[in-house]
Amino acid sequence: MAFFSVAFFGFVLLFLIIHDLVGDYAPRYQWTVRLAAGIAFFTYLSGIKIVFILASALTVWSGALLISQLAKNNKISRKDLPPEEKKASKKKCQRTRKLYVTAVVVFNIALLILVKYFLPVADHPIALPLGISFYTLQAVSYMVDVYGEKYEPQSNFGKILLYLIWFPQLIQGPINRYDLIEKDLFAPFKLHAPDFRYAFYMFLFGTVKKYALADLLAPAVNACLNNNSHDKPGAFVLFGALLFAIEQYADFSGGIDMSMGISMLFGVKMNENFKQPYFSTSLAMFWRRWHISLGSWMRDYVFYPFVTTKPVSKLTKAVSRKFGNHAGRALTGGISNLLVFALVGLWHGPEKHYLMWGLYNGFIIAISDALSPLALKMNRFLHIKEDSKCMYCFRVFRTFMIVVFAGYFDVIGPVRTGLACFSNTFLRFEPARAAQLIGGLFSDGLVSVQSFATAALSLILLVINSVFKEKGKSPLGSLCGRRYYLRWVICFALIGLLLYSFTVSSGIRGFMYAAF
């Protein structure tokens, strides 16, 4: 069941009607309709593999209740103990809780690693349980948060299962946090016209990004980058990588917009996943604005715990004492960033090029952090104004190009080919030969002028939307408040663009991030 298919629309419509009816007569149980939708969606696409998500839900549900109960019991029993014994009792309890939380986290991560990295390479490749890369991280975040006493555990197993199996998040995330989504997930909801409108616009704009932009660029990106040739002129590769940067953003953020829109129809506002990433002025900032839910997960559950471990904080202290505060931070922060991004890379897949891609990102962030005082001094020496418009544009462009080059390790595949393409970009640019090759794409019928023109139009819409959002405005929100004829004109224009894109498209593609 693709996101844009008759079957999916039928599915959503059916559950939306049931959801609304139950909302009228038994609002307390409306969440069970959401749960049923999740289970139906999962079973339809992954069948018996639902046992994987049930296992995850069961372990975190029971584990969280157990560690919370342990803490409560201990609090009562140590109340009247003398101080020394109190401390010892608390410590012992903490150790037991830690043991349980570690066991549950290890079990879930091991399950993910097993099915994601080991089973598919066997003789009979199996499709992954739907959304396992996303819901596993959600399960871990819930468990660790309850351990850290961020919130009380949920006693209803069905509700924890719903948190993991909520269907709009299963295709490609976002990786929702329990405390940010629980209210919407379990509360009654009545769908009124303004909410419907906003959700519909969001979904529609997502489809334009995905089908009238990403999918139209995909054939050209594949032709430029997806072959194992070391002999491509640099300009040709760069052209492909630029298109890939647009395609990837449109594909991923478009898909997320569609998921968000569907989810909003059921009253569930999911966590934000993008914030105009291509306006970032540094790679670190880019990662706070791109796939936000993965970045913040890595920050909270890998980066923070890692830098606060005893050996790492000892290292920070020792280096700080000897070489100054900045050195200490830059060193351990750098090591932690390399670790986090290596994991982000491997999260995408076990292939070497993903690891390289992760390390490339981590390395650049680590180096720019380490050199930041030097850059500041240099700018002062050269009388460059830090907050000037020029500097802002330069930084945005620089960050964008760093991301484009990251694509060489992401999409090209074999690391050696990626490196060859990288060196060609700087040493063998050959624009004339590249122009010939690009012309060939058109004359061979791989891409058409119509599809490129349609993509260009969608891109313009996307850029306009992003510029407004960057300025703190909400174009979709303001569209909701316009007179109905204006809304319809814009909707029909978008639908027209979408339908036209299908006539010039070489075929609907799955979502890139669904593969992760």
């Binding site: 903490q94 006493e149 961020k150 830098v307 471990t309 005893k310 904080s313 505060n325």
Partner: protein, 75 residues
């Protein structure tokens, strides 16, 4: 309190922890500083600061941090 101040000076020797009451609100401490402070407090006072306590109010001044530690030691 003296132990805490010493520990804080260890993390950042350019900040006046004794008087400043807006360490977080005024952006004096960066996120990395806070991480270091948390791990140093955990070690020195043998406590475990829970995620719920990692809020600006508890880290705006040395006094606030000390109150938080005392509360953690109490229960």
């Amino acid at each position: 309190m003296d132990e805490l101040l010493e520990l804080l000076q260890d993390v950042r020797d350019d900040v006046d922890f004794e008087t400043c009451e807006t360490l977080i609100d005024d952006g004096i401490l960066a996120s990395f500083d806070i991480l270091q402070i948390i791990s140093a407090i955990n070690e020195a006072f043998d406590v475990e600061i829970p995620a719920t306590s990692i809020i600006p109010k508890n880290f705006n001044s040395a006094k606030a941090m000390y109150a938080m530690i005392e509360k953690l030691l109490e229960d």
